[in-house]
């Protein structure tokens, strides 16, 4: 198995992108998931739909509108250029933003399900034990939602590693900036370098298998979690 230095660059870039996107997504998904899990507002349906949209839309559609929106002529692009920030398309930052939108449902939904699984009565019990909403969130909600967070992080990371369409639309193919593994494989195949494509593609297959195996074992353990204790 031969990896060129360009392949290695692509691997590093992918890992960097996926880690950063996962970290940021966990932060912004927490309030979204909490609101979706607790609200009775009529906005719940529409917001849920917006969050889930990347699941059904072709990545090219997402990439296309992001390109228009963030581009020099788009609303966000003009605003950024007046602030003196360089345009986001075809940059690593642009890729991060696009990936966050693309992977959002994979992070929000496991966290939302974990929040939903927490009994209201447990939260009321915390309130009667002088636990303020923040205290309760830190010491009751987060520990109880831990398996959901683990699933969310794994899925968010893996899904970002696996993206292709959005990257191509908004990131392009700039070495060390936007050329991630999936784009590198595409390049190899285009150049009929099947041998090199194989090395990277097989790595991706192995990665997917390992990640999903781990994910399912986490979910299995979650079921009898309270009996065997908080190992995770």
């Amino acid at each position: 198995m031969q990896l060129s230095s360009e392949d290695i660059d692509a691997i590093w870039l992918t890992l960097k992108l996926a880690s950063l996107v996962t970290f940021l997504l966990i932060l912004i998904s927490t309030p979204i998931a909490w609101w979706l899990a607790r609200t009775r507002s009529w906005l719940k349906g529409p917001i849920n739909a917006v969050v889930a949209m990347p699941l059904v839309l072709p990545p090219t559609v997402l990439g296309f509108y992001l390109l228009l929106f963030l581009g020099p002529e788009g609303p966000a692009g003009t605003l950024l250029s007046t602030l003196g920030i360089s345009p986001l398309p075809f940059s690593f930052s642009g890729l991060v933003i696009a990936s966050m939108i693309y992977s959002l449902p994979f992070v929000v939904q496991p966290i939302q399900n974990a929040f939903l699984a927490i009994n209201d009565k447990t939260l009321e019990a915390a309130a009667t034990l002088r636990s303020s909403p923040w205290d309760c969130f830190l010491y009751v909600v987060l520990p109880l939602a831990k398996p959901g967070y683990i699933s969310a992080a794994i899925l968010g990371f893996a899904h970002t590693v696996g993206e292709f369409g959005v990257v191509l639309m908004i990131g392009g193919n700039i070495p060390k900036e936007t050329r991630v593994i999936s784009v590198q494989i595409y390049d190899h195949v285009e150049a009929l370098a099947y041998e090199q494509a194989h090395s990277l593609a097989l790595m991706m297959v192995a990665f997917a298998f390992i990640v999903l195996t781990f994910l399912y074992s986490v979910q299995k353990r979650q079921k009898n979690k309270s009996v065997i204790g908080d190992i995770l």
Partner: protein
């Protein structure tokens, strides 16, 4: 104590609630002052608003039109509304609601870390010994039995060092064997700690065993209210036609006989015999006499195996609303009321009338404390 007297004392829980249940027609409308000592039972059929009342007091239910204060500390009025986590309460739910990710002991530590440091009603050692939970402290809630879980929940609610303990049918989710297992702990708790308790129950049996004061709710309103002893002997209440209808008698142990295994309990001019237990001469005790265990006789002939025969006068009687063939008769042994449940036929045969002198034969007496 009348509400006016208690307001003067200021040592009360004042509750004025007007609460409309979310998306239903149920309205809870209550205006009362409850004593802040001993155990106050909130009794009534399901759907009468008992739990809602407790939740309003705890701040778990929002009720804008309510005024709630304990010893003149306002928890809720037109200006303030303390959230649940700022009210000095302890709450025991029907289900234990322990934190599943913490061991039993960690559940207790959760309360200790957030407890009111300014006053202490019970220490950790006292509570784990009182409720006998030491052996299960290292286990997770899922590994505990229902009764153990509920005992941990009670301990947790006490360790927050509340000024008022709210208990919402803490035994309702348990089967009758577990109920019998926990009741003695509750009795000990109610009488060893000085903390005032509001105890919601639909079981007259639990109320009689635990309560000092009683608030009876029906369809969101107060139906009866008062100290338990006089209230229980009142005719025409919803619980006087209950099959458990009983009276409580407080008295003093004046004599004991080890040969016969009996103790003599005196109240006023009267004495009844009870099975001897651990009580000593001079002890103040409370016993329960169920109305179905009391029969009436015209003659004082001492030819029955029943030991407890009291000379009483008939104070009042009423037909049972649920069973018209039965009568509830209120008797007075001196000043002490006793209820007897007899058939309408017997009442007719004995020509029962008010003021009549009778012999009440008491088949069994249950010692409460």
């Amino acid at each position: 104590m009348t509400p006016e007297q208690m307001t003067k004392d200021k040592q009360t829980l004042k509750v004025q609630i007007k609460h409309q249940q979310h998306a239903s027609n149920f309205v809870l409308e209550i205006d009362t002052c409850l004593p802040n000592t001993g155990v106050t039972a909130i009794f009534g059929p399901s759907g009468s608003g008992k739990t809602t009342l407790l939740r309003c007091i705890a701040g778990l239910e929002r009720s804008q039109l309510s005024q709630i204060s304990l010893n003149n500390d306002a928890w809720q009025n037109s200006d303030t509304s303390l959230p649940a986590y700022k009210r000095p309460i302890g709450y025991v739910f029907q289900e234990a609601n322990l934190f599943p990710h913490l061991t039993a002991d960690e559940n207790l530590q959760f309360a200790i870390r957030r407890a009111d440091k300014s006053h202490s009603i019970i220490t950790y050692d006292e509570v784990v010994n009182l409720l006998e939970i030491v052996p299960v402290l290292s286990q997770y809630p899922a590994q505990l039995s229902g009764g153990e879980r509920q005992r941990i929940a009670i301990a947790r609610a006490l360790l927050i060092q509340p000024k008022l303990l709210l208990m919402d049918e803490p035994l309702a989710a348990l089967d009758s064997r577990l109920k019998q297992e926990i009741l003695p702990y509750l009795e000990r708790l109610c009488h060893k700690t000085k903390i005032p308790i509001l105890y919601v129950s639909h079981s007259l049996d639990e109320v009689i065993r635990l309560a000092d004061y009683m608030l009876v709710l029906e369809k969101g309103r107060v139906r009866e209210e008062g100290e338990i002893q006089p209230l229980l002997s009142k005719l025409g209440t919803s619980f006087s036609s209950h099959q458990d209808a009983s009276v409580l008698i407080s008295g003093q142990i004046t004599k004991q006989s080890a040969d016969w295994g009996l103790s003599w309990l005196s109240f006023g001019e009267h004495t009844i015999m009870i099975k001897q237990g651990s009580e000593q001469i001079g002890d103040q005790l409370r016993v329960r006499i169920q109305s179905r265990d009391v029969s009436l006789s015209l003659s004082s002939q001492d030819d029955s195996s029943i030991l407890n025969r009291l000379s009483v006068t008939l104070d009042d009687m009423i037909k049972d609303t649920l069973e018209p063939n039965m009568m509830m008769v209120r008797l007075l042994a001196g000043d002490t009321p006793i209820l007897a449940r007899v058939t309408a036929l017997s009442a007719h045969k004995l020509k029962l009338e008010k003021g009549q002198t009778l012999i009440a034969q008491i088949k069994s007496v249950a010692l409460l404390r």
